[in-house]
Amino acid sequence: MPLLLSLPTILSAAKEVFGVGATLYAYVGKLRDAARQNAEWTDAQDAAFAEQVRQAGLDPAWQPRSR
């Protein structure tokens, strides 16, 4: 998966700069989980993911700063 190949650079740069190791460890874990998926989601899993994405839209970090 090509997207994963740049991770060493991403992790070393971002961790060094911002001290955000925990955030990035969590990120790697999520990527690992996605890579390990070997079956189609159930309807319940699909709905849960869609709801997770919808809820993220309410997070302050996702609000645009400029109008």
Partner: protein, 130 residues
């Protein structure tokens, strides 16, 4: 760094064989949706948590975060709308596996993967102010 490399090995070797009956394209899209959500969410949170510094030192990353956060007509941030859109196209394809649906799915998948790659490119650009 050793721990990071160990985690990366898990990521890079963790791809499993598909279960019988699973459509590879559907699973690939679901993996892309999960990867995109993890990437975008991590990126916008990092930018939000260090907004002043990012804005001053990595303006292109800040601009891209704003692009992801920009709201569409229904109020959904663009990055999340792209993930939801791929999910909608994927479900349409799963319900009716026509060549047209497949083409739409491949196109939506490519668009999302491009945005993820751009997010990761900006993550690598998070460098300290010198």
């Amino acid at each position: 760094m050793k721990h990071l490399l160990a985690l990366l090995c898990l990521v890079l070797t963790g791809c499993a064989t598909l279960q019988p009956g699973a459509d590879p394209l559907v699973v690939r899209c679901q993996q892309a949706e999960a990867t995109a959500f993890a990437t975008f969410d991590t990126f916008v949170h990092l930018v939000a948590d260090h907004e002043t510094k990012v804005r001053a030192t990595v303006p292109a990353a800040y601009t891209f975060a704003e692009w992801l956060r920009a709201k569409g007509p229904d109020g959904t941030p663009r990055g999340l709308a792209m993930i939801s859109s791929l999910g909608n196209v994927r479900r349409a394809y799963a319900a009716s596996r026509t060549p047209e649906h497949k083409a739409s799915l491949v196109s939506a998948l490519a668009a999302l993967q491009a945005a993820v790659a751009e997010s990761q490119r900006h993550l690598t650009a998070l460098q300290p102010a010198r």
